[in-house]
């Protein structure tokens, strides 16, 4: 086998020693991803355990459909599957670019490597990437599905081989073309926010798709014939070749295969040209919209104006911390997600409940008021979790200053309250106007109390429950905290919030239950005072604890190297 591979490498005019070195490098980088972050192994195992069977089931399903579905559906489905896989080959490496150094060919440009060796090593390397493992079951399903017509294998085998190489080359082309873009910080920030919002909107997207599916009937599906337009895409042409072979149109088979090979040649040529351009010195380009704009110097930004106003009655460190937090909540992508979710999530919730029955907004039941503390609970929780870890590298600077630590916590709390309250207040306003219910106003007051309680609990936890946060990581928080931290975060904090928030939210619940607005009205004001007191005590206590534990907190956050 090794001899055959060496012979093939020779025929292709490749350098065997360099191919071996590049392959070893690729495999080592792949292994190191798991060694450096053992949590990835867990993620990979979970992927295998949950996604693996799902992919296998889908592949089996397609195989059964190829075998048993009435004409012309097998070919239609095959075209859809091949095109979907092709799109996955393009999208998945883009998502993995930041974490898989092996995908970045530009790092090899320093070395005397011929373009053909670069191309070959990239293609060989893709054999070890996730898209290859995703593709294999679906390809096997094609063979199984058409096992009733074994003569077709003489078309299926080359068609699938062409499709596979098309997928590999397309993925590499997009990676190479987008290399500069992928390294652009602004693009990465956008991708992080986009995909996180996409995840948050899953429920809404599901509802929309359900609506579309209900609207489509069998007759419409019969007329659809996706193969008619998918066959003009490279992998679709391979599906059409197989469909033509099944119909006995052998002339068409050759034409469609030639068309697919033509696409392959074009994509390969484009990739080759890009690589040549990279190797001969032209820097990878970044579209100008993703280049950092020349900053506009404003005399005083909005946050600075607010800070100047607030400074008159708050200590300077608290105001400075609040201003800084507000800026970072917007500018750090993972933290911006928290802000956007607090804006988007209630909107999605309202749409999900009221879509199709918008008049229901005018006859809201009283219990709707209880949703407001719930919304504030999740908004504030997301913003204030790991409030020292999210300082990231800046934590060391913060703890080098002599600012009283309780003022730091106070500033953070103010920023979280403001950020969470603003969208909630807007939604409460809409609900209050449409429902004309006093309970909504009481719900908003209880929501403020809830925000104070959540902030208080997370503030108390902060000196003891801190873990690293990498603001440049695609995932929200960098895995690396101790298991006890995880237990405290997942169990301890929610339990504490549940217990401590009881007196603040109980008056509203009782008022709604008994339908006594006056009970709710007086009760939530008392609850607010209680929550403010709890928050004040928590901030002072946590400040003292932080002063005693600063080196331990820095170590837990990995804010400095040791």
């Amino acid at each position: 086998m090794a001899g055959l591979a060496a012979h093939l490498v020779d025929i292709a005019g490749l350098d065997l020693a360099k191919q071996r070195t590049l392959l070893e490098l690729r495999l080592r980088l792949l292994r190191r991803q798991f060694e450096r972050e053992p949590g990835r192994i867990v993620g990979f195992v979970l992927l295998l355990v949950f996604v693996g069977p799902f992919v296998l089931l889908m592949a089996i399903g397609t195989g059964v459909a190829y075998r048993l579905a009435p004409q012309p559906w097998p070919a239609q489905l095959l075209a859809g599957v091949l095109v979907a896989l092709w799109l996955a080959w393009i999208a998945l490496p883009l998502l993995a670019f930041r974490t898989n150094e092996g995908l970045d060919l530009s790092r090899l440009l320093l070395y005397p490597l011929r373009t053909r060796d670069l191309v070959a090593s990239a293609l060989i390397g893709t054999l070890f990437d996730i898209p290859s493992y995703l593709t294999l079951p679906f390809f096997i399903a094609v063979f199984v599905g058409w096992s009733g017509q074994p003569l077709l294998y003489i078309v299926i085998a080359p068609a699938l081989l062409i499709a596979y190489v098309l997928m590999m080359v397309s993925g590499q082309l997009v990676l190479t073309a987008g290399a500069g873009l992928l390294r652009s910080r602004r693009f990465r920030d956008l991708v992080i926010v986009f995909f996180s919002l996409l995840g948050s909107s899953c429920y809404f997207i599901n509802r929309v798709i359900e609506g579309w599916i209900r609207a489509v009937d069998a007759a419409d599906l019969q007329r659809l014939q996706p193969l008619l337009f998918l066959r003009w895409l490279p992998p679709g042409a391979c599906a059409q070749a197989i469909a033509s072979a099944a119909q006995g149109a052998w002339g068409e088979v050759l034409l469609w295969l030639a068309y697919a090979v033509g696409w392959l040649a074009l994509l390969l040529w484009m990739w080759w040209k890009l690589l040549l351009r990279m190797t001969t010195g032209a820097a990878a380009w970044v579209p100008s919209i993703f280049e950092a704009k020349k900053p506009q110097r404003r005399p005083q930004s909005l946050s600075e104006r607010i800070a100047a106003f607030v400074n008159t009655w708050l200590p300077a460190p608290a105001t400075a911390t609040a201003t800084k937090e507000l800026k970072l909540i917007w500018r750090v992508p993972q933290r911006r997600i928290g802000l956007l979710q607090s804006v988007v999530a209630p909107f999605v919730l309202m749409l999900a409940v009221f879509v199709g029955d918008i008049e229901a907004l005018g006859r809201l039941p009283e219990w709707t008021a209880l949703a407001l503390p719930g919304v504030m609970l999740f908004s504030t929780w997301g913003l204030s979790t790991n409030m020292l870890g999210i300082e990231s590298k800046g934590l060391a600077t913060l703890l080098l200053t002599p600012a009283p630590r309780w003022q730091i916590f106070a500033g953070k709390g103010l920023a979280y309250l403001f950020t969470a309250l603003l969208p909630t207040a807007v939604y409460a306003g809409i609900l209050a106007v449409t429902s004309r219910s006093a309970f909504i106003v009481y719900g908003l007051i209880a929501a403020v109390a809830m925000a104070l309680i959540v902030t208080a609990v997370n503030t108390v936890a902060a000196p003891y429950v801190t873990y690293p946060f990498d603001e440049n990581s695609p995932t929200r928080q960098h895995a690396g905290g101790k298991w006890l931290t995880g237990v405290a975060q997942v169990l301890g904090v929610p339990l504490a919030i549940f217990i401590v928030s009881g007196p603040a939210t109980a008056p509203l619940m009782l008022g709604v239950w008994w339908n006594r607005p006056e009970v709710a009205g007086v009760g939530v004001l008392i609850g607010l005072a209680y929550a403010a007191g709890v928050c004040g005590v928590a901030i002072r206590w946590a400040g003292a604890q932080l002063t005693r534990r600063e080196p331990e907190v820095l170590e837990a956050a990995r804010a400095i190297d040791f």
Binding site: R185, Q296, P551, I560
Partner: protein, 260 residues
């Protein structure tokens, strides 16, 4: 009263002794250079002196204040340029330095005024409103330095302040440090660039494997090392390191077999 005092300062990481019963004293107004080979314990020592890393044992006093008993009072007196810079990367340089100024108790107006001056002096004014995440290493270093001195600290700790800095900015920084020293600021300075250390420092300490193996003014160090009065700090340093760690000197003499 000493500006910086470390008494039997020790730090271990498991079985490894990174700093081994270090005794160190720096007078007020001194420009103290702290040298050592890689892994000698310089950064570990500085982190313990400024309150970022808890010593295994020993005491640290900054202008007479025990930093581990009264951390906030001690930190009011110091400015630090740490090894990792510790910047808020999603703030602009202007925002970051103003923020630090406010955290040291400067009024917003005073912090803004001093920040603008620092940005201009350190040649950051054109880029002062760009995010730090987009800065080069030299620009980040200058931003961190601006933040370290905005409040005119009594004691300034600098860990590799000239790394990644161009010659012009380096001259500006040296002038600023000299002015600070003239106003009475004590400067504790760690660097691998021995020529700069030799030129600026009034006293130098050499740490090897966690121990202070040599300390004094250049003339004293030459005498201790028993080498000529025109020998450089590099000669003194190598001699001091060799005396403490023979393998280090041997390592410095090694070459590559294919170059012979």
């Amino acid at each position: 009263m000493k500006a910086i005092e470390a008494v039997q300062l020790t730090r271990t990481f498991g079985a490894k002794v990174a700093v081994d019963h270090l005794d160190l004293a720096v007078e007020e107004g001194e420009f103290y250079g702290f040298l050592g080979p890689n892994g000698a314990g310089k950064s570990t020592t500085i982190k313990m002196l400024v309150g970022l890393l808890r010593p295994t044992s020993g005491q640290v006093r900054i202008v007479g204040i025990d930093i581990w008993k009264h951390p906030l009072e001690a930190k009011q007196q110091i400015g630090v340029l740490p090894e990792g810079l510790a910047l808020y990367e999603r703030l602009t340089a202007r925002e970051f330095v103003r923020f630090v100024g406010a955290m040291y108790g400067l009024s917003a107006a005073e912090a803004a005024r001093r920040t603008d001056e620092l940005m201009e002096l350190l040649d950051l004014d054109i880029d002062a409103d760009k995010l730090i995440v987009d800065y080069s290493q030299g620009m980040r270093k200058k931003t961190a330095l601006a933040a370290a001195i905005i409040h005119t600290p009594r004691v300034l700790f600098l860990d590799e302040p000239f790394e990644g800095i161009d010659a012009i900015s380096g001259r500006v920084i040296r002038n600023v440090l000299q002015r600070l020293r003239q106003r009475g600021t004590t400067i504790f300075f760690s660097s691998h660039i021995l020529e700069v250390v030799e030129r600026l420092c009034t006293r130098i300490g050499v740490i090897v494997q966690g121990r202070l193996v040599a300390e004094g003014a250049m003339s004293e160090l030459r005498r201790l090392a028993q080498i000529g009065e025109h020998s450089t700090l590099e000669d003194v340093f190598l001699r001091a390191v060799a005396a403490a760690d023979g393998q280090a000197l041997e390592a410095s003499e090694r070459s590559l077999s294919w170059l012979d």
